[in-house]
Symmetry: C2
Subunit: 183 residues, 2 copies
Amino acid sequence: MGNDKGFTLWFTGLSGAGKTTISELVQKELADRRNRLEILDGDIIRENLSKGLGFSKEDRDTNVRRIAFVADLLSRNGVPVITAAISPYREIRDEARENMGDRFIEVFVKASVEVCAERDVKGLYEKAFKGEIKEFTGVSDPYEAPSSPEIVLKTEEHEPEESARIVLRRLEEMGLLYAEMKA
Amino acid sequence: MGNDKGFTLWFTGLSGAGKTTISELVQKELADRRNRLEILDGDIIRENLSKGLGFSKEDRDTNVRRIAFVADLLSRNGVPVITAAISPYREIRDEARENMGDRFIEVFVKASVEVCAERDVKGLYEKAFKGEIKEFTGVSDPYEAPSSPEIVLKTEEHEPEESARIVLRRLEEMGLLYAEMKA
């Protein structure tokens, strides 16, 4: 890292928008610069911290609050973190922002439902449209886009590699990561 | 810290044995040496990561596994952690040990049920003996003492301050903390 400041890149966006893919590219790039970054991926957290929770608003809020709790613990100790869960509700993301202050960097991973459904990486949209999955964000459950995110990644226009570069450049600008040449 | 090695001091012991008190003394001492340590206290974790879980063996195991997951995340990033939950079952503690390898330091905070019940800091033993609290560790629920903990704190014999000193001395011996004079 440029210094010991921890931060949380809070990715938010629909299923299939590119959260996990871009996270992993950012992580790989940081590893090449001898830095470390933890990804708190939605699926990993559901498995390890939120088993038993469903997808009602209440359960989603609990899940997202747990992610925020762990991201706060890590980032306040100087560890860079990406959270990569849909985190559909603005109120809960704003709560995380309030707790983490300027360590919180909201990254809107932006793609329309139509494009995400076309990609349908996990085959979930098909099931959601058939009604086989209930409470599916963007289809049968709400997604509240960020009102003023620090970073927007337009994944319909950019390849994941370009999105990862946008994130890294922004971290450099924010003084959270040295430019590659100085590393 | 003496270096950037993270570790987890895994405190285990009955309610009232002294886990939280000693944790906080260790934390304070480290803060005086300009080091940081996170305490994952049983109550804090129940509030933030395990709301809704009860005290059956299954729920306790889930709770302790969550603590271990977070302790692993922190300690593998160089953050010193104390977990201070009863964590009554040997199998789950051993699972944590396996995941964290030599970052895992088991600390048996040792006091008999009788002494803990006499102290009864939170008034819980009285209720447990009356049957008002079910599944109370040491009274109506099992506690499996560690078979070969790295540190044993005999809190019937030592004041909390002395126990904290034992922990700090052990960390120095293990090369995880510089002796005070060198700090």
